[in-house]
């Protein structure tokens, strides 16, 4: 595999219909590292995250203007199929969403099965084991791979969703508050997993939990919003240590020290 390149975002404006939700984002996301996005509710961090694999287009009327380059290719180029973007940029959601009709095994291989791709049983088993081991779930589920995925606990379901995401071998994994519905132990399991995953994947994680951002990320970006109905902005992005100890911007300092938000 060629040396991974950063994700370049240039002058990105994100709209919901006529409403400008996020304005003028310019950022470079480093490969094989964890970037955390923090900020108050409604500031557009999840919206921004979803533009990185064109998932926000799923919402009627939503679109983005600007440039997002992944591996040197603008994913908003008119020739690019969003389906192919999503194969390269996976996503883990706030609420664990395994497919209720599928077994654990089928859930992990969903990227293959839903795309009607043929795969031999042994290749499928190999991929499944690799993905489940990658998601630190293998030991817990190896004896019940044919049981429904919905039967797992909340934390296990979320790791199943991570396994499903890495089974399609993406370059980037986006995580939208992946631990917000989990207890501290499951959260710890996922955070440990994020540490391991960054060896292979570029990770962008949205979180409301500033301790989590400081624990898992290498760089942290702070989004803020001037008021209701105004667009969100990326206020600053820097090394996580710098953001939490010595932020440049007054708003960032106020937010991380708990003066608002």
């Amino acid at each position: 595999m060629a040396a991974p390149q950063p994700i370049n975002v240039e002058d990105l404006d994100i709209f919901y219909g006529d409403f400008l939700a996020v304005e003028g984002v310019n950022v470079q996301i480093r490969p094989r590292s964890v970037t955390a996005l923090i900020g108050p509710s409604g500031c557009g961090k999840s919206t921004f995250l979803r533009t990185l694999n064109r998932m926000h287009e799923v919402i009627p009327g939503a679109y983005a203007k600007g440039k997002v380059e992944i591996n040197g290719e603008d994913i908003y180029d008119s020739k690019v199929d969003p389906v192919n973007v999503r194969r390269r940029v996976g996503m883990v959601f706030q609420k664990a969403n395994p497919f209720p009709t599928m077994s654990i095994r089928d859930n992990v291989l969903a990227g293959v099965k839903l795309n009607n791709r043929r795969m031999s049983r042994s290749a499928g088993d190999e991929l499944m084991e690799k993905a489940l081991r990658g998601a630190n779930l293998w030991n817990e589920v190896k004896d019940r791979l044919d049981k429904p995925g919905m039967g797992l606990s909340g934390g296990q379901q979320q790791r199943l969703c991570i396994a499903r995401t890495i089974a399609v071998q993406p370059e980037v994994v986006l995580m939208d508050e992946p631990c917000s519905a989990l207890d501290p132990i499951s959260t710890l399991a996922i955070e440990d997993l994020i540490h391991e995953l960054k060896q292979e994947y570029t990770i962008v994680i949205v979180t409301h939990n500033m301790q989590q951002a400081s624990r898992v990320s290498d760089r942290t970006g702070f989004f803020n919003i001037a008021g209701t109905g105004k667009p969100g902005h990326l206020i600053e992005i820097d090394d996580t240590d710098t953001i939490f100890t010595n932020p440049t911007n007054k708003q960032t300092e106020d937010y991380i020290s708990g003066r608002f938000g």
Partner: protein, 388 residues
């Protein structure tokens, strides 16, 4: 009682609250009192019957039970008793017509089925060719086949159209001109739901008379087209609701794996909703399988078997019931009736036509039940599994 109405004191909070709860058999006491008072009262005003005794007795039971509970258990439990009785009463009122209908149809239907000669199955293996007068013979094979064929063809027409319309409304009609079109389609579907079935029959008739200029044309497929007009809106409505129940999360999960929209719809949305879709489609089939008016117009009635959907009249169970019941009691001038075709001789029975109508109704109900059981099995085996 006073301790219940006043603000809770230390004592009332700590007293085990079911201490004063009376055992259930006290209901028998209040119930019997209600019934006896009702019978006595109704006898005095000379309006005593089983139905009036049950209704008045139940209402008195509500009153007595409430007062009794108020005195012995306190106002909170009295209200609980009253509402429990009301709920049970509403359930009984809802179940009574259903059960009595089933009972009547089975009882009267079996009369003809069991009397059929040479075997019990003969009613379902013979048709009506040459059966005249009060002949103690005949069956519904031709009408059963006609009903099944016409309903099958109506389903073949309606299910794809209805399902695809529902998919369009749920998955595609989200913005711009598609949204406008979707609103229009929803409105038209709502209007179609209210079409009287006789109008659907006239439409089916008019379409085919226009297509093949022959006012006397009658074919099974005409009935299927008329029925599909009644079936499509139900399929659309039921399927639409079921598809909307599929969480957006699952679609997003699929998209995020790089699955195109159409495959997401086929393999995630439809697969997740299949249990509900099956139920909805079964309900739509059950709605049209008993239609009489449109079939009377478009398919007519015959006495013998017709397997061909595209040629000639066909018998169907609802029209058969209609025809037999209207024929009424047979006029048994002599003790026997001869079949003019086969020259078989049957005994004459005055009630044979009406018995055949009930037996056909029984057959129709059995078909609908089998359909429902199949749908249940499908939804059982395909519904999302949540157990560990």
């Amino acid at each position: 009682m006073s301790s219940m109405t006043s603000a809770p004191t230390e004592a009332s909070v700590h007293r085990p609250h079911d201490e004063r709860r009376l055992p259930w058999y006290h209901l028998i006491f209040t119930g019997l009192t209600g019934l006896l008072v009702a019978i006595a009262g109704l006898a005095i005003v000379d309006a005593l019957s089983i139905a009036s005794a049950i209704v008045v007795g139940f209402l008195l039971h509500l009153l007595f039970g409430w007062v009794y509970s108020l005195v012995r258990e306190g106002p909170r439990w009295a209200m609980d008793r009253l509402v429990t009785l009301l709920v049970i009463g509403a359930f009984a009122v809802a179940m009574f017509p259903l059960l009595s209908l089933l009972w009547e149809v089975i009882r009267r239907g079996l009369t003809r089925v069991l009397a059929a000669k040479p075997s019990v199955l003969s009613f379902w293996t013979s048709d009506m060719s040459g059966i005249i007068g009060g002949a103690d013979a005949g069956g519904v094979l031709h009408a059963t086949v006609g009903t099944l064929l016409i309903t099958l063809w109506a389903s073949i027409i309606s299910i794809p159209i209805g399902l695809f319309t529902a998919i369009f409304l749920v998955e595609y009609a989200d913005q711009g001109w598609k949204k406008t079109l979707g609103t229009g389609v929803t409105f038209l579907v709502d209007v179609m739901t209210g079409i009287p079935s006789i109008v659907a029959g006239l439409f089916g008739l008019a379409v085919f008379i226009t297509l093949m200029p022959d006012a006397s044309v009658r074919m099974g497929i005409m009935g299927a087209v008329a029925l599909s007009l009644l079936m499509i809106p139900t399929v659309v409505r039921n399927s639409e609701e079921m598809l909307r129940l599929v969480p957006m999360d699952l679609r997003e999960a699929s998209y995020a794996l790089g699955v195109p929209k159409w495959l997401t719809i086929v393999k995630v949305v439809l697969r997740t909703a299949i249990a509900g879709l099956t139920t909805g489609i079964t309900l739509a089939i059950a709605r049209v399988i008993g239609e009489t008016a449109p079939l009377l117009l478009t398919v007519g009635m015959v006495t013998s078997m017709n397997w061909n959907m595209f040629d000639g009249r066909m018998a169907t169970l609802p029209t058969f019931i209609n025809q037999q019941y209207r024929a009424g009691s047979a006029n048994c001038m002599s003790d026997s009736v001869t079949n003019p075709i086969t020259h078989e001789v049957y005994a004459c029975s005055i009630s044979t036509n009406i018995d055949r109508a009930w037996a056909a109704a029984f057959t129709l109900i059995v078909i609908v039940m089998v359909l429902n059981i199949v749908a249940r099995l499908i939804s059982h085996y395909f519904s999302p599994k949540l157990s560990r």
